[in-house]
């Protein structure tokens, strides 16, 4: 208890209290939520799962196995949760081409959102896993952008670059750019760790932490992000700057030098 009281004035103390409060509210809601509504939901839910199972059998089973147990061509999906399905299928990564390169890239989605929800429901029914996050979880309300920046630099920037421009991994793999990735998918990616990305479960990167990270990313890497100094040059740092300095800096000055040193046009001798 001594330890706790010593930490009372820590800047994160408020956050911890807030988190506790949130957890309590959530728990209370779950306890007192109307039971009959849950009942109705359940029947709808089982229908959705049925639909998802059909879609799964057609589109996914060849690689992931008929029961989602996985084959040599695809990992087991038991316990990956609805969030993983929503991320993989919505960003077009799944279904993947039969012969992939080092990494399965982002593509336009093949399924509609309704179908994706059905697939997700089916996979979620195979084993408990993270659920699809709600707007409330990844929305901007109550987020601390600066804290998100610190978290981003600690957990994400090493692969995705300072402002999420992406970066290289081993043997042709890469951490993709986070530009134009919807907050929901960023949240899901953190939660589930798609492909080679490690996961950041709520136990180590709390819900609030994730919210902060998304808010930070939205502040520094979106269409409205201000780049006060001018052209961002890809946000890639000194390599891009050096290239720009050579081509447009020195290049322009050499062009000017050619003009300064060139002979003035002579009058035609008549």
């Amino acid at each position: 208890m001594k330890k706790l009281s010593a930490r009372r004035r820590h800047p994160l103390a408020a956050l911890v209290v807030l988190l506790l409060a949130l957890a309590c509210t959530g728990g209370l809601y779950a306890v007192f939520a109307p039971a009959d509504k849950a009942q109705a939901d359940e029947t709808a839910q089982s229908l959705t799962i049925e639909e998802g199972k059909k879609l799964y059998a057609v589109g996914c089973a060849s690689c992931h196995g008929t029961g989602g147990q996985g084959t040599s061509d695809g990992p087991s999906l038991v316990g990956v949760g609805a969030a993983a399905v929503d991320f993989q299928v919505s960003t077009g990564r799944m279904p993947a081409a039969t012969s992939q390169g080092a990494q399965i890239p982002k593509k336009p989605a093949v399924y509609t959102q309704a179908e994706i929800d059905q697939l997700a429901a089916y996979i979620a029914s195979l084993g408990a896993g993270p659920a699809i996050p709600t707007e409330e979880q990844y929305g901007p309300e109550g987020a601390d952008i600066a804290k998100g920046g610190e978290l981003f630099r600690n957990n994400c920037a090493q692969c995705h670059n300072f402002t999420g421009k992406g970066g290289a991994l081993t043997h042709g793999k890469y951490a993709p750019s986070l530009e134009d990735v919807a907050p929901k998918y960023i949240y899901e990616a953190m939660l589930t760790g798609p492909q080679n990305m490690p996961s950041f479960p709520d136990s180590t990167l709390s819900e609030q932490n994730k919210k902060d990270v998304i808010a930070y990313l939205n502040a520094v890497n979106s269409d409205d992000t201000e780049s006060p100094g001018g052209l961002e040059l890809g946000g890639l740092g000194p390599v891009a700057e050096g290239l720009f300095a050579w081509v447009f800096g020195l290049g322009a000055l050499v062009a000017v030098a050619v003009w300064v040193a060139a002979r003035t046009a002579k009058a035609k001798k008549s």
């Binding site: 920046g149 300072f162 991994l169 042709g172 050499v254």
Partner: protein
């Protein structure tokens, strides 16, 4: 001196105000004799002779903007909490150095512009020096009497690199901190004294509280002070030696042809300063550089991918990235070859180009002054060496940016690293051979042009039906320009025995020199330029075709 006023000094007394001021200064500084020698000094016109001016002016711009920045920058590593105008860093802990750089960027009006001009000018300064140095190299302008000036220029380039590096480190952002960490790791690899140097430099363990303040005085005082002295010395020597010129009609080794300093070069060179400054200001309005607010404050446990130094340090980054991780442990000590070898190759790469002029002058044994520039093709071995060096440099630059090449060209970072490892040894050799052949090809073409004239592009049908292209003879000016270059003969040791049949002693160095000289000027390394006899035989014989 008598006290009576001479007629001359009386007339001085009545001179216009401007002249009187000049007289006053001359009486104390002797400016007239200085002006007599220099006011109408002749400078030849060629765009490549202005590359050095780009460097000089960007250096001045860096000093001007740098002084402005020191008015607002706090070189301190005290941790403070940020409460300025940039929202995504509100409440973050950071050093005062980082905070004051944020304030310069967001709260000082025009501060961001000056910061960007300072940094862009630094990149252009180094790029300019690189290109200027290559111009001097490929035209042979480093030959006697300019070897010392070549060294001054080289020192400026190296000092510029380190001034740039220390400046890049000052804001104490996450990227520059990573660079400093790299430097610390490299210092630790030095056998025996590494840890001591590191502890003395950082005032203890990395990162400590001292390095920003220490780098600050190195960046704003020590290095620029030395550089300023070298720049002045460099310029004095340029004036003293008078500028080199390309061969051409009326241009000899004993004269310099061009426009006078006053007024033409006063206007052109003075104007060029404003052109450079203007271009850099516009560049800084358009493109951002080192947006430190996006990088965040330095924390030794945080990092971002794409961590690179500014371009001029890129080749050292390449060296360190492609080196295999060799480490030898013996008797309780560690020899960190994986870091120490690149640390040794780094200066060697630079020294290779710096000492080249002395090697060449030893091989040729030429002790005369050279004021006429070579066309690169007419010095194939030198040109090939220079291209090989640039190739090595750029291979290492590719290595330094291997992660970005990987993401932007969808390659494997491991494959690029292996490519650079092999290319480090192979590419310079290939570049050397290819360049030499190209030079010889161009020499042959020049020879053909002199002997057979220029291809006119007109096709003529001869009476018996054959089609021939008309060749126009070259003008006297062109003939002169194409044959003005000198050709050395290879140096030979001579017979191994003297006339009495006694074996001569031949020093190893002499043998080496003969070998090199043969490589430089032997039959396979230069195409003999046409002689007057050859020319006459062809032109008098059967007209032009």
């Amino acid at each position: 001196m008598s006290t009576t006023t001479t007629p001359e000094s009386r007339s001085r007394g009545k001179a216009p105000a401007g002249e009187r001021v000049a007289d006053w200064a001359d009486g104390r500084l002797g400016i007239y004799s200085l002006a007599k020698a220099n006011m109408r000094k002749i400078f030849p016109d060629h765009w490549s002779f202005m590359l050095g001016e780009i460097c000089l002016y960007s250096f001045l711009i860096i000093i001007l903007t740098g002084v402005y920045l020191t008015l607002f920058f706090h070189p301190s590593m005290n941790e403070v909490e940020y409460h300025g105008s940039y929202v995504p860093l509100q409440g973050q802990l950071m050093s005062e150095a980082y905070k004051s750089t944020l304030d310069i960027s967001f709260d000082v009006r025009g501060g961001l512009l000056i910061r960007q001009i300072h940094h862009w000018a630094a990149l252009v300064f180094l790029a300019g020096m690189f290109v200027h140095m290559m111009r001097v190299f490929f035209t042979g302008a480093f030959r006697k009497p300019r070897e010392i000036n070549w060294l001054f220029g080289f020192l400026l380039f190296v000092l510029g690199m380190f001034t740039g590096f220390t400046g890049y480190s000052l804001p104490d952002d996450l990227l520059s901190g990573t660079g400093i960490r790299f430097m610390e790791g490299a210092i630790l690899s030095v056998p025996i004294v590494g840890t001591y140097i590191s502890f003395f430099l950082f005032g203890g363990e990395f990162p400590g509280d001292d390095f920003v303040a220490r780098f600050f005085s190195i960046h704003v005082l020590l290095l620029p002070g030395i550089m300023l002295g070298l720049v002045v010395a460099h310029l004095i020597l340029v004036f003293y030696h008078k500028h080199t010129q390309f061969a051409g009609p009326g241009k000899t080794n004993n004269n310099v042809v061009g426009m006078p300093l006053l007024p033409v070069y006063m206007a052109k060179a003075g104007g060029f300063f404003f052109l450079v400054f203007g271009a850099l200001a516009a560049l800084s309005a358009i493109a951002t550089i080192n947006p430190i607010w996006a990088l965040g404050p330095y924390r030794p446990d945080m990092v971002s991918t794409g961590a690179q130094p500014d371009w001029y340090m890129g080749f050292s980054e390449g060296l360190i990235r492609v080196m295999p991780g060799w480490e030898i442990n013996f008797w309780g000590h560690t020899l960190v070859l994986g870091v120490f070898i690149p640390l040794l190759i780094f200066p060697l790469v630079l020294v290779a180009i710096a000492v080249y002029p002395f090697i060449e002058s030893w091989v040729t044994g030429d002790k005369r002054e050279h004021h006429i520039l070579d066309r690169p093709r007419n010095a194939p071995t030198r040109t090939a060496f220079g291209v090989a060096w640039i190739t090595l440099y750029f291979v290492l630059l590719v290595g330094g940016g291997n992660d970005l090449w990987a993401t932007h060209f969808h390659l494997s970072i491991n494959a690029i690293t292996w490519f650079v490892r092999i290319a480090f040894f192979v590419a310079p050799v290939v570049a050397f051979i290819v360049t030499k052949r190209i030079c010889l090809g161009l020499q042959r073409r020049d020879r053909d042009k002199v002997l057979h004239g220029r291809e006119a592009g007109i096709i003529k049908r001869l009476p018996h039906g054959e089609f021939v292209e008309v060749h126009e003879p070259l003008s006297q000016e062109q003939l002169y320009t194409l044959t003005a270059h000198e050709q050395y003969k290879p140096f030979e040791i001579g017979p191994a025995v003297d006339e009495n049949g006694v074996r001569r002693k031949v020093k190893m160095s002499e043998k080496l020199r003969a070998k090199l000289s043969k490589g430089y000027y032997g039959g396979e390394s230069q195409i003999p330029k046409p002689t007057v006899e050859e020319y006459k035989e062809i032109t008098s014989g059967h007209g032009h075709h």
